[in-house]
Amino acid sequence: MSAYAMAVAGSEPFLERAPLLLRDAFVQLLPAPTQWLVHHLITIVAILAVFGLFFAFTTIAERKLLGRLQNRRGPNRTGVPQFSILPWRFKHTLFGLSQPFADAVKALTKEDIVPAAADKLLHFLAPVLVVAFSLLTFAVLPFGRNLIPVELDSALLYFFAAGSATELTIFMAGWASRNKYSLLAAMRALAQVISYELPLMLSVVPVVLVAGSLSTREIALAQGGWTFGIIPHWNVFTPWGFAGFLLFLVAALAESNRSPFDLPEAESELVAGHLTEYSGFKYALFFMAEYFGLTALSGLGITIFLGGWQAPVPFLGFVPSYAWFMLKLVGMIGFFIWVRGTLLRLRIDQLTRLAWQFIVPLALINLLNAAFWSLTRDWTGALQLVRWVISAAIVVGPFVLLGRKLNAGRAPRTYRYATS
């Protein structure tokens, strides 16, 4: 509470304080014994509302962006039916922006089919829990300078603990469906979580080492400031941070089951994987959880590598911090959609091999790199350049060697033609 009180009383711009002022004004109206409860409930409701809507518009953004990547337009017809403020138009399609709401109505009104042989309890619990676990991770993300739902000293540990639980619900869903495709998907999900939980954490540890804290608030704060007034002090603009960010992106793609690591729901192999036996709203819940997980991981990546809520250039500092966070979030999600529209899917053995033979060693080396970086903190002038070169060499060398080993024996071929 003290941090909030300071912030509210502080000299920050009004927009920066506005959400907190609004909440406190509302809380003050209530009797004192219930204030702490309402205080937290408002936070929860705000997260649910903001990220619920964000999820809805992510789906339409994904469909439209994928459409554009594929020479088509994507959904652009769903509007507000038979409603127009302009007399000469029958309806507004609003670029199809109300498509997610139409989808929600469809999902809610569809028949919910549970296979006769399914484990009914687990089959029901899996979609509920997957949403619950994926929402838990939002609790520790700093959405703005003062907007942290829960300030934990070990926020990162909490994030990974809550985040990895979602994969267990995928296993639950796959097992409970009593469908062979679902079962195979469940096995894949387990292999994937074991392989990629470790690199995900290892890619984050360098930041913890340099920032000296597990608290997401501290990590975001430590990335403030600019070199020469133009290059932000974000972790991604250091050699170890850049490498860590790339490793984090790959691991985050795998962790959130996005293409090219969407093996548990590989639609061309396992029909719909663990979702095969789900329909209606339960299916929608899985869908929602997947996007929540993606959003949370993007938020973590932003907090840890992309400067959190910090503005990229000094003269744009007047824009409220939460706006920067959301802008970066949109950018990250856009990147993930772009990847989905571009890449092929790996095979399960290649997926695990990539994790253990490439990403884990690189992440460990990157940890050494961060240690070097924090040891040489007092190097200045020309030594600063030496520091950069050494740090870059520490990751680039192993990257090239490991990559060569990973792709050994595979290359584009040249072909001969029949002579006669």
Partner: protein, 394 residues
């Protein structure tokens, strides 16, 4: 170690009809999982089914099951006149109706001893090569879809396919079921505008191929997923009667356009690409390279297209009764050797009508190609063989 007999407990009466996991008490393998992939699986390219037995995700047994689309094609053709079967051959390989029409026309012309005018020969080659491009573009797109892209390469390929199919529609009136060839020639003479449009399209096509290859051919994930996967040995392929790009990917130089030189193919300058490893990547590259060769053939055909009639004036359309005898006409369809065997007894109907479908025969070694690979690979291998269920089941 003595292999114990598989034990399977009978399901109790009234037990819910769920999937059953058969226990194989083999000391090495433990439990195997039998999965019936298809006929409603999203990537079996139609109503095709693979009964696969899995050890983990590795295939230890695979049985192709087909016949879900059987519609008595051959028997129906034996009960109707020769010409009446022509539109029905469109439905065999519904992506390549122009080549299928030609194969049937080739067999009947051989049976009746009919000649084909020069212009019709050239038109047939133009349309067959356009069909090859359509087929290969679709195949490559679908292959990437099986590999897990979210439709992007497929829709790029479809963009080009649509342009060619629009040409087919302008010429024959139908996008896919063209019904264009006749015994002794072709049905419609294309206008100069059509020829100009087609020629322009063909000249621009290499740009699409370059774009496609730049984006995809060197992709590390594609290399990892396809190189060394689904190897087919040349000797086995020959023994099984496999033809087409699948055979050439295994390194066997066998292209009916060169071997038989049917039509006027001997007048054209083109090369036959050959693979070396016989794996999925080679099969993919065969298609890309063949499309480039097809473009070369098409450019020559547009350059040399003679004027003249498109139909043999002596050809008899009504009351067509070939003399008693038999004939086998075959050509290099985009999928392999497509043959029609006809036995005539002098009546208006063929006494025996038999199709040699390349899709079906290329499927016979599916198990051999898939054994030891994972489910994900089986889907890709099937995609690289290039089947159309209309032709497999007939």
């Amino acid at each position: 170690m003595s292999p114990a007999a598989p034990t399977q407990a009978p399901a109790p009466f009234g037990a819910p009809s769920g999937p059953t996991v058969r226990t194989v008490t083999d000391a090495f393998h433990g439990d195997l999982l039998e999965v019936s992939m298809g006929p409603q699986h999203p990537s079996t390219h139609g109503v095709f089914r693979m009964d696969v037995t899995l050890d983990g995700e590795v295939i230890v047994k695979l049985k192709p099951v087909f016949g879900y689309l059987h519609r008595n094609h051959e028997k129906i053709a034996e009960n109707t006149s020769y010409l009446a079967s022509m539109p029905y051959t469109d439905r065999l390989d519904y992506l390549c109706s122009m080549s299928t029409n030609w194969a049937y026309a080739l067999a009947v012309e051989k049976l009746a001893g009919q000649a084909v005018p020069d212009r019709a020969q050239y038109l047939r080659i133009i349309l067959a090569e356009l069909t090859r491009i359509v087929n290969h573009a679709c195949l490559v797109g679908f292959l990437f879809n099986d590999l897990g892209t979210s439709f992007t390469p497929l829709l790029y390929a479809f963009r080009e396919r649509e342009k060619i199919i629009d040409l087919f529609e302008a010429l024959s009136g139908s996008r896919m079921m063209c019904n264009y060839q006749r015994f002794g020639g072709c049905r419609i003479d294309p206008s100069p505008e059509w020829l100009a449009a087609a020629s322009r399209l063909v000249d621009n096509f290499p740009r699409f191929l370059d774009e496609y290859e730049r984006m995809l051919t060197g992709n590390e994930i594609l290399l990892a997923r396809t190189q060394g996967v689904g190897r087919l040995k040349a000797a086995n392929a020959i023994n099984a009667g496999i033809t087409g790009p699948v055979l050439r990917a295994a390194g066997v130089n066998y292209d009916l356009r060169k071997v038989d030189a049917y039509g006027f193919y001997s007048r054209f300058d083109f090369r036959v690409p050959l693979g070396e490893h016989g794996d999925t990547y080679d099969r993919y590259m065969m298609r890309i390279l063949e499309m480039r060769e097809s473009v070369k053939i098409l450019q020559q055909a547009f350059r040399d297209l003679p004027t003249g009639p498109i139909m043999d004036p002596k050809a008899k359309i009504r009351g067509f009764r070939p003399k008693a005898g038999e004939a086998y006409g075959r050509l290099e369809s985009p999928k392999g050797e497509l043959g029609f065997y006809l036995l005539s007894d002098g009546t208006p109907n063929p006494y025996r009508y038999r199709v040699r479908p390349p899709s079906l025969i290329n499927l016979t070694l599916l198990e051999e190609m898939c054994l030891g690979h994972t489910v994900a690979d089986a889907v890709v291998i099937l995609g690289s063989i290039d089947i159309v269920l209309g032709e497999v089941d007939r």
